[in-house]
Amino acid sequence: MSTATLTDTGRRPGPDRRPRNPRAVLDWVAVHSIGLALALMFALPIVFVFLTAVMSDGQAFTPDLWPREWHWGNFLEVFDKAPLLKYLGNSLLYSLLATAGMLLSSIPAAYALARLKWRGRNAAFLLVVGAMMLPPQVVAVPLYDTWSSLGLTGTLWPLIAPYFLFDAFSIFLLRQFIVTIPQSYVDAARVDGCSEFQALVRIVVPMARPGIAATALFCFLYTWNDYFGPLLYTGEKPDQWTLSLALSSFKGLHHVQWNLAMAVTLLTMVPAVVLFAFAQRSFVKGITFTGVKG
């Protein structure tokens, strides 16, 4: 495992890799035992889910922890039980379009909030934070009312469309990243005759690439994981369901088959794991920015 990239931001440079006196040894053992216990606590539920997912139909019902036979076919069988490819397509449509729309709409706004001076900027930023913290249920009724009069309930468009104009969390996160880009780079570009737009496209966007990547990842996963939105707008239209929404009914429909329910559960987690494996630094950096640099 390549843990090198993970550790370098987390550990302080220090000469004392190995403890010397007995008290320090005891301390080392205690801290690392707790660390190991924590790691197990977070990892074991997934291990159990995985082990159950590859059990036979019968064994999944028993208290057994270890599969007697490994039924890898369960991961394929679930595709026969439910139109998972359709759900996958809907999930991808929602997540990819929302992320693309978010990038188009949020980068300019974040730049204006981070780098340009204008009256009302602080007030606008506070509105962004306010919108970010607002529970989605608060504005659900009038929005549903509007989309329903446009005849678009029963589709995913009411969830996708807003991203092409405004996504509070993404604007907030991108602004936090762009603020950290030294002003001197932007000034230098202006001296060379760049307009604000050119400065944004040629200087800020390339320099904020890690931040943009992190924001895109969070946006993709947020929409992928979203349950309330798809339930609200597509709950009664099964052919529009996303994976996340379909998963909640899978357990009920096939409640006799724990192994298959767990196989689908694992499949819905695949994007998160894959994205994290490829972009763990962006994730960790992004999540840190949401809290510390407020």
Binding site: T3, L6, G10, W28, V31, G35, L38, P45, I46, F48, V49, F61, P63, L104, P108, A109, A112, L116, F125, L126, G130, A131, M133, L134, P135, P136, Q137, V138, A140, V141, P142, L143, Y144, D145, T146, P162, L165, F166, I171, Q183, S195, F197, L221, N225, Y227, F228, L232, G235, E236, L245, L247, K251, G252, A261, M269, A272, F276, F283, V292, G294
Partner: protein, 330 residues
């Protein structure tokens, strides 16, 4: 006002005219950059917020035009037993999750910060569950906490403890959901860990010279330094608890064995309404019973409460922004 001033300025001298043109272009740039966001905010937040408050004074079923009923929806809340149950359940989560999430994430981060090897691996394992879809995370715990057959039941059995029925028992369904929420609190852990690692090393060294042990250094240096992040954790947990919906719906419907989660209101809140949170009841009233007026009244209440929590955080951020801008570059 400013426009006329600019014109007078511009008429006076040539350089001033250039400056004013630059200023106009700057204003246009800001406008162009912010326009989509401004429209989006107005359409998806500004309008619906006002409309929610207006709807809350009406009787509205989405088909017939809204009918003005004054404060009737608000008055009905006090007589609606399930509303009071929902408030009780959500308050339970606000208190429990605020305390447990912050304490748990702080505890885990403090241990991880002291690890000398395996930091990356432990941090990754702690963080990964928080990326899982909430539906999946809830089902994972449904398996782990399954009575008689689940691994936790077995583990408790080794210690001679009888496992509760968790999601099937009204007394244990909320703790079960809280367990899910702790499992996915790795994002808060990462935020706190970053803050702990940002504490200047010299402060620890100075305290160590004064003879302060690990615990006293943590209490007197780490905690006060990261307190702004802990405040963020508290506000974030309150917001998370106020909007708790998915985990409650999934836990309730899965435990009831309901096949159709979307169409069946009977199973929301299962068992015995113990998982009927405020947003779940709002959703049921608005989108199952189509009592949009009453749902809007509940949404207004939710808005006021979450606004208060947000104001707490914004106040802190404002302070930070002012400090940032007080610097020489401003």
């Amino acid at each position: 006002m400013t426009a006329t001033l600019d014109r007078v300025d511009a008429a006076r001298t040539a350089p001033a005219r250039g400056r004013s043109r630059a200023r106009a272009r700057h204003r246009l740039t800001v406008l162009a950059l912010m326009a989509p966001a401004a429209v989006g905010f107005t359409v998806f937040f500004g309008y619906p917020l006002v409309a929610t408050v207006v709807f809350s004074f009406t009787d509205y079923d989405l088909i017939n035009p809204p009918e003005w009923v004054g404060f009737a929806n608000y008055a009905y809340m006090l007589r609606d037993e399930l509303f009071l149950t929902a408030v009780h359940n959500t308050l339970w989560f606000v208190v429990a999750l605020t305390v447990l999430r912050v304490v748990f994430a702080l505890g885990v981060a403090s241990v991880v910060a002291r690890l000398k090897s395996g930091v990356g691996l432990v941090r990754t394992l702690c963080y990964l569950p928080s990326l899982a879809p909430p539906v999946a995370a809830t089902l994972v715990f449904f398996l782990v906490l399954r009575p008689n057959e689940g691994p936790l039941d077995k583990l408790l059995g080794w210690f001679g403890v009888e496992s509760p029925l968790w999601f099937a028992d009204p007394a244990w369904s909320k703790p079960g959901i809280a367990a899910v929420m702790l499992w996915v609190s790795g994002d808060l852990m990462i935020i706190i860990l970053a803050a702990i690692l940002d504490v200047p090393q010299e402060q620890y060294e100075a305290a160590e010279l004064d003879g302060a042990g690990v615990v006293r250094r943590w209490w007197h240096i780490t905690l006060p330094t990261i307190s702004p992040v802990l405040l963020f954790g508290v506000v974030n947990s309150i917001i998370v608890a106020l909007q708790l919906f998915t985990q409650a719906v999934v836990a309730g419907s899965a435990a009831s064995g309901a096949a159709d989660i979307t169409g069946n209101t009977r199973y929301l809140g299962f068992p015995e309404n113990s998982t009927l949170t405020f947003p779940v009841w709002l959703y049921t009233q608005g989108f199952r019973y189509f009592d949009m007026g009453y749902a809007s009244a509940m949404a207004t209440v939710l808005f006021v409460i979450s606004f208060a929590a947000t104001a707490l955080l914004v106040q802190r951020m404002r302070k930070a922004t002012h400090q940032e801008e007080g610097g020489p570059g401003a």
